[in-house]
């Protein structure tokens, strides 16, 4: 039986980042989460498997903490969770991540389809699917909003700038889906409970033969601070607040 592998990234929740007055970034309060769009990749995997009856798995590469993500990932349906947890993930760029994922995919027996999201919510670099495709030398189709799978043949609809494109491709291949086509449902209680019993496989960077040295050298990371006036009308009834706002806008010359 063939296996469909959904790749996802465990990211810091951007809403928990604290930007200090000196524009340094405090991540100590940030919780981890599966990148929103990657939930759509998992959902797409489940939808394709429902058409084909293939086996399903998830694959992630992160710091050793990434193990915490497996329960959430597997509660979304896939049967097996593969993970690579290594401190090197802290500095990994898309070059390193794609090498780790591609090497891991080679070890997962019978993988015939890899499904990724377009990009992760932290970097949003949108490199992983095409890079993994290149490393495996499998054909790759990105920006997919719809797929029909019959045996090894996939008909996919891509949403690009100004056009919809329909293509066909045979497995094995890599697909990157857009969230629009694959809204992820919230896992039910039963799914969450059974996720804890699903098999997990840890893989190591060394055993996969990957070089953890990134090509990107980070020089600096600075938080963005909005410099706005923050004149907010909170009290009074709606018409008072509207009057205050309109007079403020008038003063700004916005209504002439």
């Amino acid at each position: 039986m063939a296996t469909i592998v959904a790749c996802y990234k465990w990211v810091l929740d951007e809403e928990d980042l604290v930007i200090n007055p000196d524009r340094s970034i405090d991540v100590s309060h940030a919780r981890g989460k599966i990148s929103e769009f990657d939930k759509s990749a998992i959902e797409a995997t489940m939808q394709v498997a429902a058409q084909t009856g293939d086996a399903t798995a998830t694959l992630t590469f992160g710091t050793p903490d990434v193990r915490k993500s497996l329960k959430d990932a597997l509660s979304r349906g896939p049967a097996t969770g593969y993970w690579v947890g290594d401190a090197a993930a802290c500095d990994a760029d898309a070059l390193v991540t794609s090498q780790v994922l591609a090497s891991a995919i080679r070890t997962i027996d019978g993988t015939s389809l890899v499904i990724c999201a377009e990009g992760a919510s932290d970097t949003y670099a949108r490199q992983i699917a095409p890079r993994v495709g290149a490393l495996l030398d499998w054909p790759t189709v990105t920006s997919v909003i719809e797929m029909k799978v019959e045996g090894d043949s996939i008909t996919a609809t891509r949403k690009l700038d100004g056009c919809l494109e329909t293509v066909t491709v045979n497995r094995p291949c890599v697909i990157a889906v857009l969230p629009a086509g694959y809204e992820p449902p919230i896992p039910g209680l039963k799914a969450v409970l059974s996720a804890g019993k699903k098999p997990l496989h840890e893989l190591g960077i060394a055993e996969l033969g990957c070089d953890p040295a990134p090509a990107a050298k980070v020089l600096s990371s600075q938080g963005f601070i909005a410099n706005r006036r923050n004149v907010i009308f909170v009290d009074g009834d709606a018409s008072d607040k509207v009057t205050s706002l309109v007079s403020a806008l008038k003063k700004e010359g916005m209504l002439s």
Partner: protein
């Protein structure tokens, strides 16, 4: 010398990337897969234009062959226009070359064999500066550099072998029904706080009173389809720079707000006092939009 190699599926963006290379005085070559585009690109100021003739209808299918040429030619920087196709092709080339890549950069310099870049992270909450050694790939969005015009550059044709494993069945244009917000002086932006489609009439009334265009958040365009996709603002939509940006029922997540950083005045109406939009607004009203918007519309009609 093949210092900088440029590709974009949008010829106007390829021309902007030549502008970048010329600004830094690099030798620059443009590649294209289309004879029609090649004749358009010869006037863009590159040292030469190379038509890679591979007879595939899908530009991305040429990535593997192109990576081979980039290696053979000793290209330092492969700069690609940041469009869906461009990002895909660029990342595949980086994958085949096993080299670094910077996506959607807001600043880029190539100096002494090092590429330095700036890009946004976490939807715009963070700016990251990075450095790469060459060869390296970069994607650059439109609007960063001025296109240059030049004397016609020589055109060369090279036959390549595309990867034909992805077949084109059909291509259907999406009607560009949306308004162009990039130059709009006033924008009223609608968020998921507007609960029913018929309530869009309220927003349209407010926009008319202000003589404003309508923008929106991603969910309004992509999930609900109430506003054309060209009009959603943010990191994956458009960036705007109006005099006045007035948002209604928009929570102000960073992915949206990054698109309005250049607005002169930001006004927010939201019922949640703690909504992040109020931290990034110049003026705001905390209140139910269904009470505030009709009153505001009337007051604006009277005031103007």
């Amino acid at each position: 010398m093949n210092e900088v190699l440029i590709y974009s599926d949008k010829p106007s963006l390829a021309a902007e990337l030549v502008g970048f290379a010329r600004e830094e005085e690099h030798d620059v070559t443009i590649v294209t897969f289309s004879p029609e585009e090649a004749s358009e690109l010869v006037g863009c100021g590159a040292s030469k234009v190379v038509l890679l003739d591979g007879d595939s209808d899908i530009p991305e299918n040429n990535a593997r062959a192109l990576a081979g040429l980039i290696d053979e030619w000793g290209v330092s920087l492969f700069a690609v226009g940041a469009t869906p196709r461009g990002r895909d092709l660029a990342a595949r080339v980086a994958g085949y070359l096993g080299c670094g890549m910077a996506s959607d950069v807001s600043a880029v310099h190539l100096l002494d064999g090092k590429l330095s870049t700036e890009r946004l992270m976490y939807g715009g909450a963070m700016v990251r500066s990075e450095e790469f050694s060459t060869p390296v790939v970069v994607t650059i969005p439109s609007g960063r550099f001025e296109a240059v015009r030049g004397v016609d550059s020589p055109l060369e044709t090279i036959v390549i072998q595309p990867d034909m494993r992805v077949h084109l069945v059909e291509r259907e244009p999406l009607s560009q029904e949306g308004a162009d917000l990039s130059c709009a002086p006033r924008i009223v932006s609608v968020g998921m706080g507007v609960s029913k489609r018929e309530d869009m009439a309220l927003i349209e009334g407010l926009a008319a009173a202000l003589d404003a265009r309508i923008g929106c958040t991603r969910g309004i365009a992509e999930e609900r389809g109430w506003v054309p996709a060209e009009q959603y603002v943010g990191i994956s939509g458009v960036s705007v720079a109006p005099d006045l940006y007035l948002s209604v029922g928009v929570s102000g997540q960073v992915q949206h707000m990054v698109g309005v950083r250049d607005a002169k005045v930001i006004v927010a109406i939201d019922k949640n006092e703690k909504a992040p939009i109020f931290r990034e607004a110049d003026f705001g009203i905390v209140g139910d939009l269904y009470a505030v918007v009709p009153l505001l519309t009337d007051a604006l009609v009277t005031a103007r």
